[in-house]
């Protein structure tokens, strides 16, 4: 069986700056994969390329056996790529349930069906009690969950989570971790960008470490965190010696 997602030798330049260089990764069906790396490693760029925010300078992106390199974001969503944004982008003038309905409309032609789906997803994400509240009135952790709910309403095969657990209190982060696990139980593949290692590592099946725009290491989380190259990338040479 082919991988659900594959990037083949993807390179992205921003007028001179090389954000991703020759990045080839793959994500298998049903996996939870963590994309980690220090600041400026090119995680967000790669993430945006996969979601279709802009096409890569070079290389190709394959989703579900098809080349989607040139497809715009909306079409990738229709094919089963759901995403959240690192800086939350709620529809502020709309109610929470209306936010989710927008996502649900991808697979529901009738409003009735979309509304039902939206409530179901809100319940799954623990936001049902806030359904009728304007999105602008949510607290930050709720807004993060709304991002996830909206993406889930599009019924994705692959869910891209951009730092959904960063900046949460330990209790909130734990709820988030459980939510991600339950998402996978529904058969949805997850690729998550995080830089808080201790939260991600117990959650993911596999970790891909990016540094300076390239894949540094990939493997089981327990192995990755002990890898001297990873420690060097995060903490500098001095600490690598003690590892």
């Amino acid at each position: 069986m082919t991988a659900l997602l594959e990037t083949r030798a993807v390179t992205q330049r921003f007028s001179g700056l090389v954000a991703n260089s020759d990045v080839s990764i793959s994500v298998g069906r049903g996996e939870i994969v963590g994309l980690i790396g220090p600041n400026g490693a090119g995680k967000s760029t790669l993430f945006n390329l996969i979601a279709g925010a802009f096409p890569p300078t070079q290389g190709s992106i394959w989703f579900d056996g098809e080349d989607v390199t040139r497809l715009p974001a909306a079409e990738r969503c229709q094919r089963g790529v759901g995403r959240t944004f690192q800086v939350v982008k709620s529809f502020e003038t709309m109610s929470v349930v209306d936010n989710v309905i927008v996502g649900a409309l991808v697979r529901n032609t009738h409003m009735r069906g979309a509304r039902r789906k939206a409530h179901e997803v809100l319940e799954f994400c623990g936001l049902d009690a806030r359904a009728e509240v304007p999105a602008s009135e949510l607290v930050p952790s709720e807004k993060r969950r709304l991002e996830v709910a909206r993406a889930l309403a599009t019924e994705p095969k692959l869910l891209l989570l951009d730092e959904v657990l960063t900046g949460l209190t330990p209790v909130e982060a734990q709820t988030g971790v459980e939510l991600v696990r339950r998402v996978r139980e529904r058969g949805i593949t997850v690729l998550m960008v995080e830089h808080v290692m201790e939260i991600v590592m117990p959650l993911v099946d596999r970790a891909i470490v990016l540094d300076l725009g390239k894949v540094l290491v990939e493997g089981k989380p327990t192995e990755v965190v002990r890898d001297p190259k990873v420690i060097t990338a995060y903490l500098g040479d001095r600490h690598a010696v003690s590892a």
Partner: protein
């Protein structure tokens, strides 16, 4: 919660039906032609503003060039009638279709612009069209078109002895514009438009094709405004470029919605009912040299509204609704 939502929608519909009945009975009590004239204009601007609100309020693409579509509607009807003898009813549909097509043709380049740049583009395009019509000899150039008056008839949609037919037509027009908005509000398009307004990037990531959504809103909005323009041409039976395509029309479509509540179902209606009578009254009482006075009144109202209730007058009702137990 589904039930509450359905109830809310049904209540809007019932209130609208009640208002239409009340409005339809008004001429029984109001015999004064001057007041009837104000009523016609109020309903017309309510319809126009409601249509403007679809593109600018719901979809968030602020247009200050909708005078273009108003003028196109007026000119299409008047030209078809005077040059080819086509009845205004067909002219109305033709004007609407032409406007919708032009709105999409203009949207093709303009919807790549965001924010203020889009607004400026709409103003410039409408002004350019105004200049073109001022110099287009076949269409009467700056002199405009005098629509010859025949016998009073619904066929030619001309009435010289009474304003009431115009009043009822304007009422139907306002009701249609309201109903179209009501219907779109709980449709795929309505949700897409609001998502596009609030955050185009997020909308795109949820499968909304932002560009197409804007095109759809522009077409519906332009069509309805053009029908309003066709009506106006018949109502005044003389048009020239400045009197149907001038910048003031673009403003007069935007202001009621802004005053009442932009992007809301009831905002444009509420705004028009307050603003249009006020304009007409200040204009006639101050008269002659007071051409700018109505604009001063708008300005003051807008400043007051943006200070006291930035979401528009409709916000007054929303607050009360929330305070009471749901």
């Amino acid at each position: 919660m589904d039930k509450a939502f359905a109830q809310h929608r049904r209540r809007d519909l019932l209130v609208a039906a009640a208002l239409i009945i009340v409005a339809a009975l008004l001429p029984l009590f109001v015999k004064d032609v001057y007041v009837q004239n104000i009523m016609v204009l109020t309903l017309m601007y309510a319809a126009l503003s409601q249509s403007w609100n679809i593109l600018s309020g719901y979809c968030g693409q602020i247009s200050l060039g909708h005078a273009l579509y108003f003028g196109l509607g007026a000119y299409t009807t008047a030209l078809l009638f005077t040059k080819f003898g086509v009845l205004p009813w067909f002219g109305m549909i033709a004007g609407g279709l032409i406007s919708a097509v032009i709105a999409m043709a203009l949207g093709y380049p303009c919807f790549r612009l965001r924010g203020h740049y889009f607004v400026i583009a709409t103003i410039v395009i409408a002004e350019t069209a105004l200049l073109l019509f001022q110099n287009w000899t076949w269409a009467g150039a700056a002199l405009g078109i005098d629509i010859p008056v025949h016998r009073d008839s619904w066929l030619t949609f001309q009435f010289t002895r009474s304003k009431l037919p115009y009043f009822y037509f304007a009422l139907v027009l306002a009701a249609i514009a309201w109903f179209v908005t009501w219907w779109l509000e709980d449709s795929k398009w309505g949700y897409w438009w609001r998502a596009v307004k609030d955050n185009p990037d997020a909308a795109e990531s949820l499968g909304v094709v932002v560009f197409n959504s804007k095109m759809g809103a522009a077409a519906v909005s332009a069509f309805l405004v053009a029908v309003g323009g066709s009506f106006y041409a018949q109502f005044v039976s003389y048009i020239d470029p400045d009197s149907v395509m001038g910048f003031q029309f673009s403003l007069l479509m935007a202001l009621p919605a802004v005053l009442g509540g932009i992007g809301t179902l009831w905002g444009p209606m509420l705004g028009a009912v307050i603003l249009i009578p006020l304009t007409e009254l200040t204009r006639s009482f101050i008269g002659g040299s007071g051409r700018g006075v109505d604009l001063i009144v708008y300005g003051t109202l807008i400043v007051l509204i943006s200070l006291a209730r930035p979401q528009g007058l409709v916000g007054l009702f929303a607050r009360r609704r929330k305070a009471s137990p749901a």
